[in-house]
Structures are given as structure tokens and as C-alpha cells.
Symmetry: C2
Subunit: 337 residues, 2 copies
Amino acid sequence: MIDAEAIRSGNRLALSRALTAVENNTPDSKRLQATLFPFTGNAHLVGVTGAPGSGKSTLVNQLAKAFRQSSINEKPPKIAIIAVDPTSPYSGGALLGDRIRMQDLAGDKGIFIRSMASRGALGGLAHSTAAFATLLDSAGFDIILIETVGAGQAEVNIARLAHTVIVVEAPGMGDDIQAIKAGILEIADILVVNKADRPEAENTARALKIMLEMSRGGGMTAASKHLMRSLAEKKVNTNQKDEKTGWETPIRLVTAIEGSGIDTLVDDIRRHKAYLVSSDLWKVKEAYRLEKDLEALIKDKLVDQWQENLDEEKYQALLAEIIQRKRSPIEALDLLL
Amino acid sequence: MIDAEAIRSGNRLALSRALTAVENNTPDSKRLQATLFPFTGNAHLVGVTGAPGSGKSTLVNQLAKAFRQSSINEKPPKIAIIAVDPTSPYSGGALLGDRIRMQDLAGDKGIFIRSMASRGALGGLAHSTAAFATLLDSAGFDIILIETVGAGQAEVNIARLAHTVIVVEAPGMGDDIQAIKAGILEIADILVVNKADRPEAENTARALKIMLEMSRGGGMTAASKHLMRSLAEKKVNTNQKDEKTGWETPIRLVTAIEGSGIDTLVDDIRRHKAYLVSSDLWKVKEAYRLEKDLEALIKDKLVDQWQENLDEEKYQALLAEIIQRKRSPIEALDLLL
């Protein structure tokens, strides 16, 4: 049994063990999540997403350092980094990356880094991220940077659940269609063109600006509009009177590896939080995120329950008929459920 | 009602309408899948996956053209391309890409191209791909090229269900850790280093070779080993006597945009099919794929059934308690199911 109080008071060993418990989906991890959930709701979740090679990891490391250094007159915020890794189900690729990052940020007790392996976890990638956020939030982390590879549906969905979504592009990584294809432009609250020392960086930024303007009517992101609509249907009140007076997505040129442009980005993230809180979108996003988490848990549990009560013989017989092409999966479904 | 016979006899309009019906999950699409399923099992499914910017689309187009031209003395194979697009749920990004590709391959009636939008479809991305494959297979397409962005969990899973998996890398797209992170190396039956005219191409190929050797004991891919194990548990017989005598994943330098290296790749794909058939792995992969399709359908149906019988008032009350942080999602789950 891992001590929930130890996690709350900042014990790193207890926290690490709890996160591993979440990955292994132990009963103890569920108890911890339930116990610690009331102590959450303070952390600012920042999703950072972009294609492989866009330099996300470097950017996230620099952001963590900058946040730690930027508050000279006040207590610096505690920063956690969750790297959501679409590793193969066969081997764990997360560890190597972790070790390299540790070297860079080691020594600062206010920064906590953890890769998340998602195989087999209750509710999949989405719930694991939510559970990680719950534990880190209750442990007093002020900013949780969630890094995902933004080219997959599941990973983009996770980033979208953050309060603030940063989409990272790099110049010269394929033509403009790639960016549209990835479908991640419109979920961006902040757009970063990383590796801005490359000659094509300005062109990439210009192309992104045009695409952004094309894809959006007002200042709000499509994701926010979608959120507002779905919340409006559920009669959740917000102070947001006019969609057009919303947030304007900045496009920033950054060279993460040299740290240039990082301070502006830190300001953007803070401004975006202030905007969310003042417009009540913060509450809206929280509600949306928690509902999505519940949905993911429900789906998983339904499958578990069904498997427990499964007539294995009947299932195998139907499967054999499918393999012999005597019956289609669609027909078998009706006989099974 | 779309005519199933028209699809079988090669009517393109009927086929297109049927694929749209699948995307919209109409009752008619289910009837068609059930009717046409017995006429499938001939097509060679080839998954092509890689990060955005690796040049997958160009490669797939060139492969389609090369397959059409390579059979001088026999009837050229009919080729279908399914582009699985992780487009945002808000707007359809697929169309633009489609139009550009059409221009390139237009005029050849033996090539059929279709992007797949996946939002809201029964069974999600995985089942939509399976349903597309069923329809195209029954329509007489010999080779179905399934193109996915290989950086997301869902997309990599889809590629893995193909008979032959091609993983595309491009030189200079980030350091070697990226390739490990994406976790797609070990599912490759054929590895392509595209854009081989770049100076770093040879180095990338060498690095991939080392990584491949590190990640594999014998000649088989990790995915194949996993498959063999899971099938062995279910007592499916294969001719595969020794894992070490399996397929050796070739690493090919290709410049897709110029067409160089494409013919070798076409040979590799044919050799891999011959290997699968002679080792009975073809049957093994078919069985595995069909079971995964059935599983995806079951999961989706379970959620649908639950939603139909949902006590909406109770659900909303619990959700409100979660949002007020009076109750955790984990606790609410126990009260709901």
C-alpha cells in the first residue's frame, strides 16, 4: 500500500511507485486515485504535440527550465513532465529517452519527469494520462507538461484534453499538406515553429498563419468552439459572450536547442491560463476533460465485464466460422451480443 | 440499397457509394459487408507506415504504378490505395490530398484511391479499415496498399494487421531515438529509407540495421513472433518449424519521387507474400486480423448497448459530483456499472 499522504507531501519515491502502480493497473492505484482526486484541480495542464523530429522534447525541457527560472520574486512553480510514448507493445522504448532527459534536468528538485507506458492500462492512453495528472496535481505540481507525438489520433486526443495546447512544427519537414493531414493545427492554442535558425522557418510560419486563418472563422480554436457548443447543449454557463472576442493563437519562432524564443512562450502559456480563467473556459475544459476520462473508464470496464461472462466455446466456434469465411464478423457480432 | 453484385463485377460508382456507407455506418453497409465477406481472402494487404514527411504518399503512388507496369506477360494486378488519415474530427483534411493524388494516377482504371475518414464509424479506425478491405477485396483488387501515419498507436496497430508491413523512414528527420520512440521498427517486414538522394541516407540505413539487429533475436519480426506465440496458444498449426529460418527484413534505399529503388521493393513485396503463403503465416495473419476485427466490433457494440440503457439523470448527477471533485471518476465507475 502506497501512502497517499506521502504523495501529497512531495515524497518522490511514493509518487514514482504510485505512477508505476497506475501503469500496472493495480487495485492500490485505483484506491490512490480515488483518495487523491479531491486534492486536484490546481495544476495547469499544458499539452505539447508535434511530429517526430519537430524537437518537442528539447522544447519541453527548455520550457521546464524557463518556468523554474522566471519567478525571481516568487516561489518558482513545480513542473512535471509526462512523456506519452507510443512505444511498441513488445518492447519498452521509453527508458532510453528518459535517461537522456534526466541528465539535462537533473539536480532541480522542482522538476519531475516521467515517461508513460500505456499498454494494458485500464482505459488506455487517455485514462492513464488522466490518472498521472491526478497524482501529480495532488502532489503539488503547478504545471504539468504532457508531451505527445502529434501524428496519431489517440495522441492528438490526449493533447486536446490539456488546458493549453502547444503544437510544434519544424521547417522543411514535408510540404504544407502534411500539417493539414496531421489535423492538429486547429487544436493549437499556441503554435511554435521550432528550429527557427533554419532558412525556411519564416516561410513555414507564414504558411501556418494562412492555414490558421483559413481554418478558423474567429479567434477561437476549432477545439474551443466544439467545446463551447457541446457545453452549451449541456447548459453549462460560461462568461464567453462572443466567440470572436476569444484567444488569438500566436505563432512563435523558437530555437529550442539554444533557448531562443522560450521566454515569450512562457509568457504565452501564462497569458493563456489567465484568459481561460477569466473567460470561465478553464472550468469548461475541466468538466470536458473529466467527462472524457469517465467515458474511457466506462468503455474499458464494459469490455472487461463482457469477457468475464464470455462463453469461450461459442466464441471460438464463431471465430472459426469467420476464418473459414462461412460467416462475417458483422453477423457473428449479432450472435455474440 | 447498393447492389452487392455491382461491387463484385467492378462497378466503381457502387464501390464508392459502399465505402461512403461504411464511413457513415449505415445499415446498408453492414448488409454489404455480410454479403460480400465470403468472396474475400484473395487480396494481399500491404501496410505502409511512417512519420509525416517521410514521403509515404509518393512511395505508395510509385508502388501502385510499378505493380501495374511490372507484369508484361500476365494481366497486371488491380491496385487499391486506402489512405488512413488522422484528420481532426472537426474538418475533413482528406480531400485535398486525394485530389492531388488523383492527378498523378488518373487514367489508370486498374488503380483505385480512397481516403478514409474514421470519425464515429462502428468499431473505429480498425474496423473501418477492415470493412474497406472487405469491400475492395470482394471487388477483385489484388493488392490493397494501406497507408497510415506511423507515429500514433491506433495507426501503427492498423498497419500491423496487414499481411506485409513496410516502414518508411527519411534521413535527417530527427535523431535515432525518434525511430525507437515511434516503436514501429520492429513491426517492419520491409524497411525503406526514402529520399535516398540525401547525403545522410546511408548513415540512416546503417543505424536502422543496427537497431533492427538489436531488437530481434532471429530473422522474424517481433510482431510475427508475438503472432506465432498467440496462435500457438490457440493450437493453430503452421509449417513454421523454426523461428530463425523466417523472413529477413530487407532495408532498401529508395528515392520515391524519382522512382529509383521501386522495382526492388515490388520484388520484396512479392517475395514476402510467397514466404507468407509457403510458411502458412498467411493463414495465421488472416486469422489474427479477423479476430482483431471482431474484437473491435464487440467493443463498440458494448458501448452502444450501454448508452441505450443509460440512466441519463444518474449519469449527469455523478458527472456533476466529479466536476465538483466530490467523487473521483474511479468511484463513479463502480456506481455506474
